[in-house]
Amino acid sequence: MDPKAEEKPWISPYAYCSDNPLNRIDPDGQSDFENQNGEFMKHIEDGSNAVYQQTGSGTSLHYAFEYYDSSSGGSNAPDIKTAIQEQQILNNGNDALQEKFDANGKSTGTYCNFATQDVMATVESALNNSPSIVVGGSANQMSDNIAENPNYTPVSEAEAAKNAQNGGLSIVTYENPAPKGHGHVATFSVGDNTEKGEIANIGPKKFTGFKSLNQSISSDKPKKYYVLLPNLLPTVTVTASK
């Protein structure tokens, strides 16, 4: 019997894989499952039928929108908030994004750039890969590249925070002017993650996780805030036939 049957009362608790065994296998009856190719899939009961596949590897591990599962009884439109939220959780647990040290105790790198790019990639896939919203480079370069990307708009801190509270993609950057140029970039937490900390931060060990804004980039450093233009996001109308 499906342990999450209460979440889908319109589906028989005895139906295997929502009566969709050709596309799914369901070893434990949860919302995460492996498809028949052994690929990790994720569907969240958020009113959207969107199913995501975990794709990429190492520092590029992210969710990519795959298809709509109409048996979920929701809407055939992605919920961007959920996409961002789950990617932030995935980043937090992705060992490849955690700082490591060589035998001399020297950092081999921190990866706020990749973590932010992974969130962008997940959102981009949910937007049908159009427009292009993933920007590359180091943290300093990303700060420049986001500013040049017409799909983002600069906003105030308060506007960025509000956009994230509404489930949108908000980004904070610090462009370090020093020639050695170690800047920082991070996404604002959304959904359930906001209770853990305002910023989904990847950086030095101590500052990795859901942190306050000042733990991500200290208060005396100049920051810039951007949001993914809200008109790019789909209008989600939940039409669950519960």
């Binding site: 790198g109 921190t110 180091s138 991500s216 980039i217 200290s218």
Partner: protein, 147 residues
């Protein structure tokens, strides 16, 4: 006589071609661009800058630069200037993680001309996008990745 001229032209072109191919950014240890560069050389056809590791927040000398040329398997540097951080505030950093997270932040960058310039030489060996300078491995970065 004609063959000597041809050989000379060939040697000259080979040297120039080798030098030109150094153009670009070469990062120590890895070709992966993490959130900051590790120590790296930025070469043009005739000039260079060495930019220190972006994870080192304590070193006030951030860049040294000048001209270079290659002869056989030796890279000859003429260091003409350094870019140095002056002033700034010592702090526990949320970004720099080397030196136990101590960092000198802020201040301003001043260029100091070295007079006389400093001459130095290093062995150089290259295989495609990997360069060994005094047996340390540097990887050419794809500038497309930087954008």
């Amino acid at each position: 006589m004609k063959s000597i001229v041809l050989i000379s032209i060939f040697v000259l072109l080979s040297t120039l071609s080798y030098a030109q191919k150094l153009s670009g950014r070469w990062q120590i240890q890895t070709s992966v661009i993490s959130d900051a560069y590790l120590g790296n050389y930025l070469f043009t056809d005739s000039t260079f800058e060495y930019i220190i590791d972006g994870y080192d927040g304590l070193n006030p000398i951030q860049v040294l630069g000048g001209t270079y040329f290659i002869k056989s398997d030796t890279l000859f540097f003429t260091v003409k200037y350094i870019k140095k951080q002056v002033g700034g505030k010592l702090e526990r950093s949320e970004i720099y993680s080397d030196n136990d997270s101590w960092a000198l932040e802020g201040g301003k960058i001043e260029t100091e001309i070295l007079s006389p310039p400093i001459h130095a030489a290093a062995t150089i060996k290259r295989q495609n996008n990997v360069l060994w300078i005094d047996e340390r491995k540097f990887f050419k970065l794809n500038t497309e990745d930087e954008k």
